[in-house]
């Protein structure tokens, strides 16, 4: 709690209740450990995404278990599956509706590059419509690969100058 004391100097009464840190570190610590995913499950990769959320792989260990089906509450869109041209505008709209800061994981060959669907109907990589932070290879990727991607993304977020962005915005 904030103490009413205006004293700047050492105060033995509140010792132990105060942690000194950088604002960047605090903000990034909060962001990395409660990264709420927007599960954009569009094809078979979504099955692996479900496995990641279940008990065996348990994405909750990394603070990302709160799958939000409303983009307004989500931080990280996990595009899991084949993005067709018909679906692409909706993916982009959902991305636009997510509040910043927001990140995107392209899970699997389809989301990253169109995968094996070299055809008239499939968007050749979701990075054509939204900025992607982490790509995961595999068809489908193992759940561990998604956890690895999440850890990579957390490492990236930890390096961000969050405080400067906060005050500039």
């Amino acid at each position: 709690m904030v103490s009413p004391s205006t004293e700047i100097a050492y105060n033995s009464k509140i010792e132990g209740d105060v942690v000194v840190s950088r604002l960047d570190a605090v903000i990034n610590w909060i962001r990395t450990n409660s990264m709420w995913p927007m599960p954009m499950g569009l094809a078979c990769c979504a099955i692996e995404l479900m496995a990641v959320a279940a008990a065996r792989f348990d994405i909750a260990r990394f603070g990302a278990e709160v799958m939000r089906f409303s983009p307004r509450q989500a931080d990280c869109m996990i595009v899991a599956g084949t993005v067709t041209y018909k679906m692409a505008p909706q993916v982009r709209r959902i991305y636009d509706q997510m509040p910043a800061p927001k990140w995107v994981i392209a899970m699997g060959a389809c989301a990253s590059t169109g995968g094996m669907y070299r055809s008239y109907a499939v968007l050749q990589g979701v990075d054509r419509i939204v900025p992607v932070d982490v790509y995961i290879s595999g068809c489908p990727p193992r759940p561990e690969a998604l956890l690895d991607a999440l850890i990579l993304l957390q490492a990236k977020v930890r390096r961000e100058p969050a405080a400067r962005r906060l005050f500039r915005a």
Partner: protein, 208 residues
């Protein structure tokens, strides 16, 4: 209902214009487009083929006439047998066929798919819209003259297209399509055994 085994005799007696069609599996018949609804009704009500399993179409390529053939697969839940009925569309430029939605409501989506993929119109269909591609898509992708990679066109949502600057582009082929050719050794049939080193950056060498 008669037994389904003698569907050939049933059809030739009842509909003299119906002819046999070469088939490797089920009994198959050709019918004239004008009579096709009667034949389907006869098969459903008199021969026991009560389930419409599929409606699809064939494009025999622009060089052929008649170009489009519509194919119905019926199944008899009593006799546990399939029968296939085919009818050629008379007009190659604006192919059309009577709709079977009056006989089987389930024909609705099958016919929408055939319309979406081949550009066939079904006369009497209550709601003939695209079902797989988006409304306003300008091509019919399963026609023989449509490339698998696709053709340039706009995204379905123009606001998003404006913002992202993305449009529907032909998919990069990078030497594909990567399908193994049947009937030879694995080494010779594998796509990598062929000269498919060409890509978008490096044109496919002209055959001499």
């Amino acid at each position: 209902m008669t037994a389904t085994a003698d569907v050939a005799t049933f059809l030739t007696e009842r509909f003299p214009l119906v002819a046999g069609r070469p088939s490797l599996d089920y009994p198959a018949f050709n019918a004239p487009a004008a009579q096709v609804l009667e034949v389907l009704r006869g098969l459903r009500d008199e021969a026991g083929y009560d389930l419409l399993a599929d409606v699809t179409a064939i494009d025999w390529s622009a060089a052929k006439s008649p170009r489009f053939t519509v194919v119905w697969h019926l199944f008899s839940t009593v006799g546990h047998q399939y029968v296939r009925l085919a009818a050629d569309c008379a007009d190659d430029a604006h192919p059309s066929m009577p709709s079977a939605t009056g006989l089987w409501p389930g024909a609705n989506w099958h016919e929408r798919e055939a319309y979406d993929m081949f550009g066939l119109t079904f006369a009497g269909h209550p709601d003939l819209r695209r079902i797989l591609m988006w409304d306003g898509y300008p091509y019919f992708p399963l026609r023989k003259d449509f490339p698998l990679a696709g053709l340039d066109t706009a995204l379905p949502d123009l606001a998003v297209a404006d913002e992202t600057g993305v449009s529907v582009k032909p998919a990069p082929y990078m030497g594909g399509p990567f399908v193994a050719a049947p009937g030879s050794t694995i080494e010779a049939g594998e796509p990598r055994a062929k000269d498919q080193s060409w890509s978008e950056g490096q044109e496919k060498p002209k055959e001499t």
